[in-house]
Symmetry: C2
Subunit: 226 residues, 2 copies
């Protein structure tokens, strides 16, 4: 046990009470899992981060996989809650889609470490596979919304709904790789930016462009011919 000062349970302790409870162990564990990766985190390293011994962890959870299960359930409960929301089933599909995407961003930010863990699973254990199944059910329901919005005529249908949905989730899921609450941008603004880019696009129409002095010859290289 070489790692850190072996006495202090760093942070996130239940207030006033001595030692950890399951929730506070889980909180730290998920942080460490995300830093190093779940498989790469040994119970020993986790114990060091907690400032307690390995065996003390087993007082709170039956196994390492148990910690994972608790974390994944929390992430999935949050995401599934998004679809239970009234805004997910009322109005035109394009608005329902927008609503679901916004709420998904919200939940991701709110449950960031738990969702992060969920999104990095490889399906090596039963616990992981079960979580991946629940996650796929969630995304499948969103894909259905994309298809309906296309059929409704409010969204482009030249891109396959499956592709659209995957790209949308790619954009959304990437949030866990860089966004940190308390930073420069709020969850609300993040959702706005994401929806705005995905729905309205990044390019300004030529009419709206600010006139500029070209510093390099116009159109020397071609941007799409390859």
């Amino acid at each position: 046990m070489p790692q850190q000062s072996p006495a202090r349970p760093a942070a996130a302790k239940r207030r006033g009470r001595p030692g950890y409870d399951q929730q506070s162990v889980l909180e730290i564990a998920v942080e460490v899992f995300n830093e190093r990766g779940f498989e790469a985190t040994s119970m020993g390293a986790l114990a060091d981060s907690l400032g307690i011994s390995k065996s003390a962890i087993y007082h709170h959870v039956a196994s390492k996989g148990d910690l994972l299960r608790l974390a994944l359930d929390r992430a999935l409960d949050g995401l599934e809650g998004v679809l239970a929301d009234p805004g997910a089933s009322e109005g035109p599909a394009v608005d329902r889609l927008e609503h679901v995407l916004r709420r998904t961003v919200e939940v991701m930010v709110q449950e960031l470490p738990y969702v992060t863990l969920l999104l990095r699973l490889r399906g090596n254990t039963e616990v992981e596979r079960d979580a991946m199944t629940r996650r796929r059910t969630f995304t499948a329901r969103v894909t259905k919304l994309v298809r309906m919005a296309g059929a409704e005529g409010s969204m482009r249908s030249d891109i396959d709904p499956g592709t659209t949905s995957r790209l949308l989730f790619g954009t959304i899921n990437s949030i866990v790789d860089w966004y940190r609450p308390g930073g420069a941008i709020t969850a609300q603004k993040l959702a706005d930016d994401l929806i705005s880019m995905s729905f309205d696009g990044l390019r300004l129409p030529a009419a709206a462009r600010v006139p500029r002095i070209p510093r390099v010859p116009e159109r020397v290289g071609t941007s799409s011919g390859h």
Copy 2:
């Protein structure tokens, strides 16, 4: 060794020659690493997939980390090549950006397993951290293009360039999680769809919409009020 028939080196053998060479070992290794995760893949499991013994692997590479290094170098060489391309430095920034994003998609598809491995690193070893540094340099240069395109007036600047770049890379990088060459959509079409969604957006302007018979009351739920 319970896993599979221990005789046949499945596929990807150098033609005609008996046994593996480094390249063919790497090819299979990267596949297995992506399936189960690098840390979760033991040399024993890898040996089973190769159909040879553990120790035979060490004839081709000095360590497990060496396999990772070889794979990451290949991915990074490909990506860095994108920026060496003339189209990355000629013309308006918005066109250069589009060019770089298209070529990035191409390289990702071409080197899919290697790039996949790169994108899942946690930085646990020196090899991983070095690769992450090279990757960050790449993305930083693309972020610069986003900033220039904004300054040029050809792209929206209400979204922070850093955020834009991160969302763009989120969209692009997610390709490794679902796209498989030989499937329903070509790399070219994938790049078209991705650029089209990101630059022009998914929403059809109201004018272009197909008239429809509402199946649910219009605007009962609100899509953004929460």
